[in-house]
Amino acid sequence: MAFITANWNPLGEAFYRKTELYEMCWNLRDGLRDCLVAAAPYGGPIALLREPHRRSPSSRPQLEIYSASGNSLASFPWKSGPVVQLGWTVNDELLCIQEDGTVLIYDLFGSFKRHFSMGQEVVQSQVLEAKVFHSPYGTGVAIVTGSSRFTLATNIDDLKLRRLPEVPGLQGAPSCWAVLTQDRQTKVLLANGADLFILDNTSCTAVSPPGLSPQVSSIVHMSVSFSYKYLALFTDTGHLWTGSAHLQVSQSALCLSSMWGCRRPKSQQPSVVLMWDRLLLVAGVCNDIIQYPHRPCVCVGELDGVRVVSSSRQELLQEVPLVCQEIFKIASMAPGALLLEAHREYEKCSQKADEYLREIKEQSMLGEAVRQCVEAAGHEYDIQTQKTLLRAASFGKCFLTDFSPDSFVATCRELRVLNAVREAGVGLPLTHSQFKQMTVQVLIDRLVYRQFYPLAIEICRYLKTPDYQGVSRVLKHWASCKVQQKDLSDEAIARAVCLKVGDSAGVSYSHIAAKAYECGRTELAIKLLDYEARSGEQVPLLLKMKRSQLALSKAVESGDTDLVYTVVTYLKNEMNRGDFFMTLRNQPVALSLYRQFCKLQEQDTLKDLYNQDDDHQELANYYVTASYREKRLESRLSVLQSAVDEYNKAKNEFAAKATEDEMRLLRFQRKLDDEKGAGLLGLSLQATMEALLALGLHKQAEQLYRDFRVPDKRYWWLKLKSLAEKEEWEELEKFSKSKKSPIGYLPFVEVCMKRHNKHEAKKYVSKVPPEQKVKAHLAVGDGAVLARCSASDRLLIDKLNRARATATKK
């Protein structure tokens, strides 16, 4: 334990330490020399492009992708154009920016995803230099072209190219430049010789940092901190200028000789890491420096430090966190330090433990001590140290009554997760602060990109992440990846996916199936879709895959008619008519939906539909309906004739006969209309006869009665009513005597009474058979009573009505 401070170096008031993260497992024969290297922050992967300038087809440069611990993820010869710059996006995708402005995107495992261009004019002028940067909007790319123009894309996922204004006096590439994100704006800071410019969307502004020595003839390097807050400039005179990125506060000037690059770790006090061929140097505000002799290496700026990657190992250079300083500083009397000491003594079974504890308690700092230990444990990289600190915290906690264990528990859990992902096999060397900053979700994503599915699921379960953000999401990625495995059969994959994914909430089988379809595995996609519970999701994909029959039956199953309709419309446009109708025929639900639509929109289609089905009955009905739309009698008759034919085919003789009668009636009506202007066309048989009788055309009415075999009863009723209406009482009497009435004589009484002709009514009462006599008399007599009193007494009517009601009921 005493050696914890052994690798600490003081810089001003702070300490810096360099912790080894990994012995790199890679085997680089030529080290990192002559390589384009890109390493992503947050323990991201490393990409190497060996000898990028080699262009002969016989020996192509090799692109290699490694995890942060040096595990090879992919390696392939670079066959595209010359690459200017490599970079990583926030989604762990590799960006390869070529000289002609094309940006190729690869995933972690080296498979090509897509590409985009930084603009047409770049093809001519070529990219001189490029930078990949990260901002709150995502990952961006900035390039400077041979014509000294800058082009920016703030977010490559939502590509909008911005060509920045010209910089006065700039020839070729600037001596150095950097991308800044300030005030929600992305700008470029560049140096041309000793002149500094800030380029934004609209303007190019010359700036001069305060306190920069006037002898400077050129700024050779510049670097912006991870948070875009601080800036460092290095001049040809060997001066280092640091300040805020707004170029306002000058911090110090330092004299050095030459510099390779500089990075700035975020810490209590801003400081700059400078790197030369064999020397690494940390410079702080206090004009103090730390020097590390070093092999050639690459620096990766992180949130709270710098990762130093060399060909053999990887180290983290960071400022020792304050709380660790307090605990581990030699002769520290901080409560955490005392608690650690107390615990150490306690383990030795020494009574000194009690003394230390008392000392802390006297200052009532025990809570603070525990907190310090917990926090420090989070910042430590060494597992033993973490354990020691946590044990001490746990020990101290025992003496506290109302101390919330939350932070302790949370730190324990998080450390377990962090230690798991730091393993060389996984290779995500995250610090606790980085982990906090990137959140669990992003960590899960990173693991998923690296295809560590089991670990990701374990972590989700361990941290109790809600399913839809955790396990389900992992499973979704897993399944999407699984369906791309070409060596497995469709059944095997479908089974495996179903087994793992099961009914997990938030995993959409249609999404997985879509992936499978993208990879050209249609059969697999269909199998997977079977597991999809929501038909709404199945149908569009099935249509896309041209499985229209299946789509239709799925849509029908769903019970969502809009969905059915979508498919039907699609089919209508895709298929020829015959096939379309055949398809519909097998789906009655879809068929009736379509029929409904046709009834309103496409009458002719309806006819074709029935024709196809040989549905003569419906076809005939269709013709009958259609006949009413015809204005001219001839066409109406011809349509009706078609109806008759169809009815005959449907063996519906009754309807055929009825339709034929109708045609005959129409002709008859037409004839009479022409002759007498009777206005009969379109009336029903009964109405026609009624009209004829009313017009006094008894002969014609009689003809209809015979021609159409109208039942006697009906004819008698008609005639009876019509005669009474016209009050032709003599005719009526004659009629009553013409033969025995088929409807009896009670109606005669009733029609007379309706016209209030009691005299006539009485004539027929005698003819009424005995069982109806009472009724007849009642009609004659009652009517009179009713007529007399209806105006006067309500209650009486009431009673009377009730009496009537009971009378008729019995």
Binding site: D560, R629, K713
Partner: protein, 609 residues
């Protein structure tokens, strides 16, 4: 009512929140089109809209002029037009015409279509086909539930019946599911759901799906039990003439959206008035569920009471008079007005009914239900057809066909009917047959043979399509068997006192217990379908009973939502109210529309304009 409700019957939930919800949503949608605009409202949405938001509310939200959709060119001068319509292709086409006419005239306006209760893909297709998809914006007003009364909620979708049961068009199923979902989200969670019928089952499934998709909040249930029933389970009941006061008013004057227009013959003046018929109307509330024969007695008693109340003022001193005028007189006046209206209505109905041989009609209906004196019934129907009393006389006709008919009678009646009313009714007959309201018995086969044959087919699951084809047949001829099994027709030898009803049969003068209500009663009594296997078989199955794992609350359990898919009649509502009083339940009726025999038959007509 002669006897009061049980004291422990639960309180009905408050439905005014449904109106507020609908109104707020409508206002929100109107605000989406800022500025002055003209609003075009579909004709049959007028009255429902009236219940939700009055004209001044609409004006407040910058609605300039209101128009009814009349399928004519519009004369609006506003540059913003808003259409509030049902998702019907015909209406959408009209909107297209309006927009295209404006375009042709070089006028540029903003258009917005608000579909209620939802939009259908077919409507959007029409917009697309007519080339105006980009010119109009569309929205949905999720106005599903219109509370008509304290126990009636209406979807106001009369076309549900024809589309679903005749055309086999299932697009309204999801609407039904959404309506139930809305109700559930406010008054649920339901602990028991029963149902019968294919559509009910689909609505139930659609609802379940929506519940699964949405989030669930634990709430105190206000309504615990739900019963879903398809109209095609029971066609007999709506085909019968109604004799309960409210039903009779509906049959004769047509109640529209809880409101009826009484003509001059009722008001005994020269103008007609519109009256809201609901539980707010005290007089109406007391007679709505009464058999018509009791109504006069009740009204005259009421009139006498009123008179006594008026008479009180004689011999009052000034002070008493003052309190009388300020406190009682207004109420009395109001009651007086209502009383005279209902007396007028009753008289007018009585007059109309005597003219149409109402008693004969009832007698025929009852004989048909009992299955006696069929010959007499046929000649009665024949006579009516011959005399051309009303084409709606199809009701007893179909009632008759429904119970099974020999081909000879069938043909002759059909022929006579066509002679009377025109050959276009061939289509009506085709529709009735399609729906299963007309069944032509095969010669040589008796009812029972058919039944057992079909029964076997229905049970045999492998028969698959064959069953589907025949099941419609099988279902229809089963009324007799059902009637026996559920004893729907009480023994006719006993005297039935309509003043003190014994059972739900009172709504049909003691001649018939409505099948739908009987089913509900039986299922509630048995807590499921056990013991009713034979009945459900006769009804062609599709029954279900689901019990959720919830702590049952006695009160909510006894409030029962009955959802009629395809409409229900006022008689059925009266029967359910009666059942509720007897058993200590409260029924809430949720229906796609209020129906009666006339509306049912009208839905079968093919209007070819």
């Amino acid at each position: 009512m002669a006897h009061s409700a049980r004291r422990d019957s639960p309180e009905l939930p408050d439905f005014s929140v449904l109106k507020r919800l609908a109104r707020d949503q409508l206002i929100y949608l109107l605000e989406q089109l800022p500025g002055k605009k003209d609003l075009f409202i579909e004709a049959d949405l007028m009255s429902p809209l009236d219940r939700i938001a009055n004209v001044s509310t609409l004006k407040q939200h910058e609605v300039d002029k209101l128009y009814k959709v009349e399928y004519k060119p519009v004369v609006s001068t506003s540059d913003q037009l808003c259409f509030l319509i049902r998702p019907r292709i015909q209406t959408v086409k009209w909107v297209c015409d309006v927009v295209n006419a404006d375009k042709a005239a070089g006028k540029f306006k903003r258009y917005k279509i608000i579909f209620t209760p939802q939009k259908f893909y077919a409507c959007e297709t029409v917009l697309e086909e007519q080339g105006i998809f980009g010119d109009v914006s569309t929205d949905e007003w999720a106005f599903y539930l219109l509370p008509l009364d304290e126990d009636i909620i209406n979807l106001e979708l009369p076309e549900f019946f024809r589309d679903n049961f005749l055309e086999g068009d299932q697009r309204w199923v999801r609407t039904g599911g959404s309506a139930l979902h809305l109700f559930h989200s406010i008054y649920g969670p339901f602990s028991k759901v029963y149902g019968i019928g294919r559509c009910s089952k689909m609505v139930y499934e659609s609802w379940r799906e929506q519940v699964k998709e949405g989030e669930q909040k634990a709430r105190q249930a206000e309504v615990g039990t739900v019963f879903l029933i398809d109209r095609d389970v029971d066609f007999v009941t709506p085909l019968c003439s109604q004799v309960v006061y409210e039903g009779l008013v509906d049959d004769i004057f047509r109640i529209k959206c809880g409101c009826v227009e009484f003509g001059p013959d009722v008001t005994s003046s020269d103008k007609s008035i519109k009256v809201m018929l609901n539980s707010q109307d005290k007089v109406f509330n007391e007679i709505r569920n009464e058999h018509f024969s009791n109504v006069f007695g009740f009204l005259s008693q009421k009139a006498r009471n009123l008179q006594t109340a008026y008479d009180k003022r004689r011999g009052m001193d000034i002070k008493q008079m003052k309190t009388f005028v300020s406190e009682e007189l207004k109420g009395l006046k109001q009651e007086h007005r209502l009383l005279s209206l209902h007396i007028g209505a009753s008289e007018s109905m009585m007059k109309k009914k005597t003219k149409q041989d109402f008693q004969e009609l009832l007698k025929t209906e009852h004989s048909l239900l009992e299955g006696f004196e069929i010959r007499e019934c046929i000649s009665f129907i024949e006579e009516h057809i011959n005399r051309q009393v009303s084409y709606l006389k199809l009701c007893p006709l179909s009632l008759y066909f429904f119970t099974g008919l020999l081909p000879k009678d069938y043909r002759s009646l059909k022929a006579q009917y066509l002679q009377s009313y025109g050959v276009d009714h061939l289509l009506t007959f085709a529709n009735l047959k399609q729906l299963g309201l007309l069944v032509e018995q095969q010669p040589g086969e008796t009812l029972t043979v058919m039944e057992s044959k079909m029964g076997k087919l229905v049970n045999d699951k492998t028969a698959g399509k064959l069953t589907d084809a025949f099941s419609s047949l099988a279902k229809k001829s089963n009324f007799r068997a059902l009637s026996r099994r559920l004893s729907l027709v009480p023994k006719s030898d006993e005297e039935y006192d309509l003043r003190v009803p014994r059972d739900m049969a009172y709504i049909f003068s003691g001649a018939y217990i409505p099948l739908s209500c009987k089913l509900i009663e039986q299922v509630l009594e048995r807590d499921g379908w056990t013991g009713l296997e034979e009945v459900t078989r006769l009804l062609n199955g599709h029954e279900f009973a689901v019990t959720a794992d919830l702590r049952p609350q006695s009160d909510a359990q006894r409030i029962i939502l009955v959802m009629f898919l395809g409409g229900c009649t006022f008689s059925e509502i009266s029967a359910l109210r009666f059942l509720g009083r007897e058993r200590g339940y409260k029924f809430i009726v949720l229906t796609t529309a209020i129906t009666n025999s006339a509306r049912l038959i009208e839905a079968m007509l093919d209007n070819h304009v």
